[in-house]
């Protein structure tokens, strides 16, 4: 074989490998990663303060809470559901945690109370979806209203802001490890790693994909589909509860309209990350990239002094472009 032929073969092999990667299950992640890098390069060139350690940490801290909540949403979306009540859960869980800590309990107990508040609401969501057979969109939309209402009712008793005047409470939200890395970022990374292993290596994770892919087939295969879907809703709300605690710690107080309207940003990040609204597809690395992509965009536009209205337009456009690329990559919208 001549050198020329060999080179031609290598080139062909490389092309096939590239196509395989792009069409593989992590292909959309590659698209996202390239987009993210291009975006960082662009903003670094046009905004002088952008590519600095401090600003990078700002981006990471800004997306940390969204990221933690997005992990739960990813699980529910892949399993074929959707949860619109996450941000209401954040407000409610922040409030129950704040009340607990104001009453003198240690922070750990406050976190547990926030997780429990979330899990409880998630179980109710799950029960309504699996036992009364109301679709998850409607169920969690209704639940979002109810929980948000309760959050307002409670906060009204404390003239709408439930402050937590306890020394050290805000450390988790505002503190930095060694004065450099914000604690929320560390939390985010730990949560992402655990979630990644949860989805790829545990039985529950397999069932997330299986049930999302075809719940009926899973039922015929002898899997207790209802039980597992209930668990996924509970996990999602629990993550939202934890996000709520982090937010309260960051702000220093719990308020009724905490994270109001943010559920769409979370869902957008997850979808951007490649999770299918139809269920069965998606992964945590994608969600990680999706969250950072949107966060980087917002930060970059702020650096460029783009008005917030136009930031919204840009975020929406990026989402649509990403979905367009993805649909083109995977053979088009049908």
């Amino acid at each position: 074989m001549t050198i020329k032929q060999e080179a031609a073969r290598d080139k062909k092999n490389l092309l096939t490998t590239l196509t395989t990667i792009l069409k593989g299950s992590y292909g959309s992640n590659l698209t996202l990663l390239i987009t993210l890098i291009l975006m960082i390069v662009y903003f670094s060139l046009v905004a002088e303060n952008f590519f600095q350690l401090d600003n990078m940490m700002n981006i990471a801290r800004a997306v940390a809470i969204t990221g933690v909540v997005a992990v739960g949403e990813t699980i529910v979306l892949i399993s074929g559901g959707i949860d619109l009540s996450i941000t209401s859960v954040m407000a409610a869980a922040g409030m129950t945690a704040a009340l607990t800590i104001r009453a003198g309990a240690p922070f750990v107990v406050g976190i547990l109370v926030a997780l429990l508040t979330g899990a409880l609401i998630g179980v109710i969501n799950g029960l309504i979806v699996t036992k009364i057979h109301i679709n998850p969109f409607i169920t969690t939309l209704g639940m979002a209203q109810i929980i948000r209402g309760f959050a307002y009712i409670i906060s009204a008793r404390y003239s709408s802001t439930l402050t937590v005047p306890v020394e050290g409470f805000s450390e988790l939200g505002r503190g930095r490890l060694l004065g450099i890395i914000p604690y929320p970022v560390i939390v985010l990374i730990v949560v992402f790693i655990i979630a990644h292993f949860f989805l790829t290596k545990t039985l529950a994770g397999r069932y997330v994909y299986s049930i999302g892919g075809n719940p009926m087939a899973c039922r015929y295969a002898g899997i207790d589909v209802d039980k597992w879907r209930l668990l996924f809703f509970a996990i999602c709300s629990m993550m939202a509860g934890f996000g709520g605690y982090m937010l309260t710690s960051l702000v220093g107080s719990a308020i009724g309209n905490a994270a109001l309207g943010n559920e769409m940003n979370v869902i957008a990040a997850v979808i951007l990350g490649g999770a299918s609204l139809a269920g069965g597809e998606g992964n945590i690395i994608g969600t990680f990239l999706g969250v950072f992509l949107l966060g980087t965009l917002t930060n970059g536009l702020i650096q460029l002094n783009v008005p917030s209205e136009w930031q919204m337009v840009a975020a929406g456009a990026v989402l649509m472009i990403a979905l367009f690329i993805d649909s083109w990559r995977s053979g088009g919208y049908k």
């Binding site: 292993f197 290596k201 545990t202 039985l203 994770g205 397999r206 069932y207 994909y209 299986s210 999302g212 892919g213 075809n214 009926m216 087939a217 899973c218 039922r219 015929y220 295969a221 002898g222 899997i223 207790d224 069965g280 597809e281």
Partner: protein, 505 residues
């Protein structure tokens, strides 16, 4: 190369189409003369529907061309197909139930008034014209959701005709129709052909083909077998063309010792409403279950498997079991291959490995984590022994051919070592070669002392592979036959309600 007689209005020449793992069409040609009814005949999986989907622009062919009046046309999508005068009536009832007959008939062609609103009067009038032309007595204002399947089929035909097609393709249009409706439909088709319409008529009912068609083209395993004038052929010749092999080759029946009963069902009712039924199945036995559409067989066995509610005594290997869910059923040693492979059997987004092991995931946990290597090894073992044709254990099952998908679902029942395997129409919609492999697998399963309950609506395979046959009608058993007692005629008589118990077990 293609021999044209100069008259054909529509020709499909040397069409080839492959899907991953299966060559669906291999150099297939067909042509239609004006006013001709050209029947397309072949078994399930022979490639009839694929060919029609190529014509209708649903699939694009890998090779070959389509000619209209001798001129090559490109049919890129269904809209274009409609534009060049091709109307296709697919098997599925693609109607919108919430809309009226008129809305459905003129779907996409709604007449508009001058200011752009829908002209309801014109809509009704034009629909009525189409219905009258076809001699149908349906009100244009009736909601489709209120109509029977037979009438829906007629509405679909009206929809196709309202577009004034030059070519009409009908894919098994009579499967949901009664005799009266079929007669009416055939009159309509004959009348339309007198006006020059060219028809491709797909069916595997030979009577209809002799009744209606001018010529027949037979496909088998994606290839042209023959094109003959209907007048010059006969049933036996067509069957030989279709099957292409002797029945003894199709059904690899071997002698297997039939042992003690494994499953005994007594006074069992499905969903509370039907009559109680009792039956037994033995180790090493293939129990064929036959019934027409609506006979309640799927219902009965779904209830037995815990998918829907059922009541009665179930004894497996001498132990009474209580089954409230598929989970219970599998624990008790039952396995069910569901009727609808794609809807109920397969998780199409997952790999071959995952589909094979879906029921058995907990078996592959070590220290809380799923063991990918163990799983792949296990899957590879099944892929080899079931001869699943795939690029590897990680291939996504969506891209497998029907037969290989079915083997993956069947493998799942073997993986959990089910003792009684209920197979609901396992060979439906898969090609002939894969069918034979499934029959062989059934034999192998029996050789291990397990039992197979084989539900089917195709008589040849029922007679070819069953040791004993139960026939259902109206939710109860109306016939029971040993292998050597059963004939097509006896089974059909039982299937329409006559009680024939040739053997007592």
């Amino acid at each position: 190369m293609q021999k044209t007689n100069g008259h054909s209005v529509l020709e499909m020449c040397h069409i080839g189409k492959s899907f991953p793992g299966v060559k669906a069409l291999d150099d297939v040609s067909i042509d239609v003369l004006p006013g001709e009814i050209h029947a397309l005949l072949g078994e399930n999986g022979a490639g009839k529907s694929t060919l029609i989907k190529v014509l209708g622009g649903v699939y694009s062919a890998d090779s070959g061309q389509i000619l209209i009046d001798g001129i090559e046309v490109k049919v890129e999508n269904p809209v274009e197909a409609t534009k060049i005068g091709i109307a296709i009536i697919h098997q599925e009832l693609n109607l919108i139930p919430a809309l009226s007959v008129a809305d459905n008939v003129l779907l996409g062609n709604h007449p508009l008034s001058k200011i752009g609103f829908i002209d309801d009067q014109e809509l009704t009038k034009r629909t009525q014209q189409t219905l009258d032309m076809l001699g149908l007595h349906i009100s244009p204002k009736e909601l489709v959701s209120h109509l029977s399947p037979a009438v829906c089929q007629l509405v679909l035909i009206s929809q196709a005709i309202s577009r004034n097609p030059r070519f009409l393709v009908m894919d098994e249009p009579t499967s949901a129709l009664g005799d009266e409706d079929i007669k009416c439909l055939f009159d309509v088709i004959r009348r339309l052909t007198k006006q020059g319409l060219a028809v491709i008529y797909i069916s595997h009912k030979l009577d209809e083909i002799f009744d209606l068609s001018d010529r027949v083209t037979v496909l088998r395993d994606g290839k042209n077998v023959a094109t003959v004038e209907t007048k010059k052929t006969n049933r036996n010749e067509l069957i030989n063309f279709m099957v292409g092999r002797k029945l003894t080759d199709m059904y690899p029946k071997t002698k297997i010792k039939i042992s003690e009963p494994i499953l005994e069902v007594k006074d069992f009712t499905a969903g509370g409403a039907s009559d109680p039924v009792s039956f037994k199945v033995h180790g090493g036995e293939i129990l064929g279950v036959f019934g027409l559409l609506g006979s309640g067989r799927t219902r009965l066995f779904n209830a037995l498997f815990g998918v829907i509610k059922g009541e009665g005594s179930v004894v497996i290997e001498g132990k009474a079991v209580k089954i409230d869910s598929p989970t219970d059923a599998m624990k008790a040693g039952l396995g069910l291959l569901p009727l609808e492979r794609k809807k109920e059997g397969l998780v199409q987004t997952l790999s071959v490995t995952d589909n094979l092991l879906l029921s058995h995931y907990p078996h592959y946990i070590r220290a809380g984590f799923m063991q990918d290597r163990l799983m792949r090894k296990s899957a590879e073992k099944w892929i080899k022994s079931l001869q699943i044709r795939c690029t590897g254990a990680n291939q996504i099952t969506r891209t497998l051919s029907g037969g290989n998908q079915q083997k993956a679902v069947l493998g799942r029942l073997l993986e959990v070592n089910a003792k009684v395997l209920i197979l609901n129409s396992p060979t439906r919609g898969i090609d002939v070669g894969a069918k034979v492999e499934i029959y062989k697998l059934m034999e192998e399963i029996c050789a291990q002392g397990k039992a197979v309950i084989f539900i089917t609506s195709e008589l040849p395979e029922l007679l070819g592979i069953s040791d004993r046959i139960l026939v259902m009608a109206d939710g109860r058993f109306t016939g029971e036959f040993k292998r050597d007692q059963a004939t097509q005629e006896l089974i059909m008589r039982a299937a329409v309600g006559e009680e024939i118990f040739a053997c007592e077990s």
